[in-house]
């Protein structure tokens, strides 16, 4: 999903940067508030960022005969809500743009928009929806991570199709072209990301029950309307 440096026309690059900036600023505020109010979260925040670091470095082969990588943003979005992932995702993208010539500074806004904003929000929405209908935690986590991953690549396809509409078939023709490169390749990888996120969540359930209850991922025994754990309900 990394649009390479200089590969978006200046107007598009600026527009995506403007669109992403408020989300990242809001995310930085949420992150500092979370760390100030719950210093014990810092470790798990670090682990969520680390998960994104690992997964976005893993280039995996796919059924289309090309390689791509997962995003790892679903986990953090489910644990800490999407605004935090706008920051952690941006840090990952900056690392890759500056050191790996992967993505770029001019395309950072567009890449942040797909991987650090739309992906986490879409995944989080699906996760919350499934949880509302009492779908088991791990099933909801799987689909949350799956959607966070796949939606990121769909957004990238739209961004490129907007910037480079096909001369004969227009926006839709280009969308089909970029979609077949990105979105189709991504389907099995999104399944992998869903499974890996489930593994990490299972390990967290084993090791960090208290933390997950505070974040509202695990419900307290009294159930949804528990009053002695107001935070679990507020989330």
């Amino acid at each position: 999903m990394h649009i390479a440096e200089g590969f978006l026309p200046p107007a598009h690059a600026i527009a995506w940067g403007v669109a992403s900036a408020p989300f990242v600023v809001h995310g930085v505020r949420s992150l500092t508030r979370e760390v100030r109010e719950h210093p014990e979260s810092t470790l798990l925040l670090g682990a969520s960022g680390a998960f994104t670091f690992v997964l976005s470095a893993l280039k995996l082969p796919s059924v289309t005969g090309s390689c791509s990588h997962p995003t790892g943003t679903g986990l953090g979005a489910i644990l800490f809500r999407p605004p935090i992932m706008a920051v952690l995702g941006t840090i990952t993208l900056l690392f890759q743009a500056l050191l790996l010539a992967h993505g770029g500074l001019t395309t950072l806004g567009a890449n942040v928009f797909s991987m650090a904003i739309v992906g986490p929000w879409a995944g989080y929405a699906v996760y919350r929806l499934l949880r509302r209908y009492d779908v088991p935690l791990m099933v909801a986590v799987f689909f949350g991570a799956f959607v966070a991953d796949l939606s990121t690549y769909c957004v990238t396809s739209v961004q490129l199709a907007l910037a480079f509409p096909d001369p004969s078939s227009g926006f839709l023709g280009a969308l089909g072209k970029f979609g077949s490169i990105f979105a189709v390749t991504q389907i099995p990888l999104a399944v992998s990301e869903g499974l890996l996120t489930v593994i990490v969540m299972r390990l967290l359930v084993q090791s960090s029950k208290g933390e997950l209850a505070r974040l509202g991922v695990l419900l307290t025994k009294a159930g949804k309307s528990s009053t002695d754990e107001p935070e679990a309900v507020a989330r």
């Binding site: 999903m1 990394h2 649009i3 390479a4 440096e5 200089g6 590969f7 026309p9 200046p10 470790l43 670090g46 682990a47 960022g49 680390a50 998960f51 994104t52 670091f53 690992v54 997964l55 470095a57 280039k59 995996l60 082969p61 796919s62 059924v63 005969g65 090309s66 390689c67 791509s68 690392f95 890759q96 500056l98 050191l99 790996l100 010539a101 770029g104 500074l105 001019t106 990238t156 490129l160 480079f164 509409p165 096909d166 280009a174 072209k177 970029f178 490169i181 990105f182 390749t185 099995p188 990888l189 399944v191 992998s192 499974l195 890996l196 593994i199 299972r202 390990l203 090791s207 960090s208």
Partner: protein, 112 residues
């Protein structure tokens, strides 16, 4: 192996299978350059749609070779994996410590 560990191992196996199957089945054989990066394919598609397009900015730093690039990717994965391992190791150690303290408190006070 506990039931939990077995389920995790099966999940990992599924991930590995998803990664290996495209290679084993030769799904990249129809391509000039099998299993190239999707990002690079998108760049090619852009130049197909708009042959005159010139990237107007180039990376500030570019790894001088494929080896350096893969080293930096490995570094990225290693940093992430290291932090994750630290987190889970710390949690496990803390939990064991708490259990041991609780057991010691329950046991005879003179026991050392």
């Amino acid at each position: 192996m506990s039931r939990n560990a077995k389920i995790n191992a099966l999940l990992l196996l599924a991930v590995a299978a998803l990664a290996v199957l495209p290679l084993v089945l030769g799904l990249g054989d129809h391509k000039e350059e099998p299993f190239a990066g999707a990002d690079a394919e998108a760049e090619t598609a852009i130049t197909e749609i708009e042959p005159d397009y010139e990237p107007w900015f180039s990376p500030l730093y570019e790894p001088p070779s494929g080896e350096i690039e893969s080293a930096l990717f490995a570094l990225q994965a290693a940093i992430g994996a290291g932090v994750l391992a630290y987190y889970f190791g710390l949690r496990r150690g803390r939990r064991q410590g708490e259990e041991r303290t609780a057991a010691a408190l329950r046991g005879a006070p003179g026991e050392d």
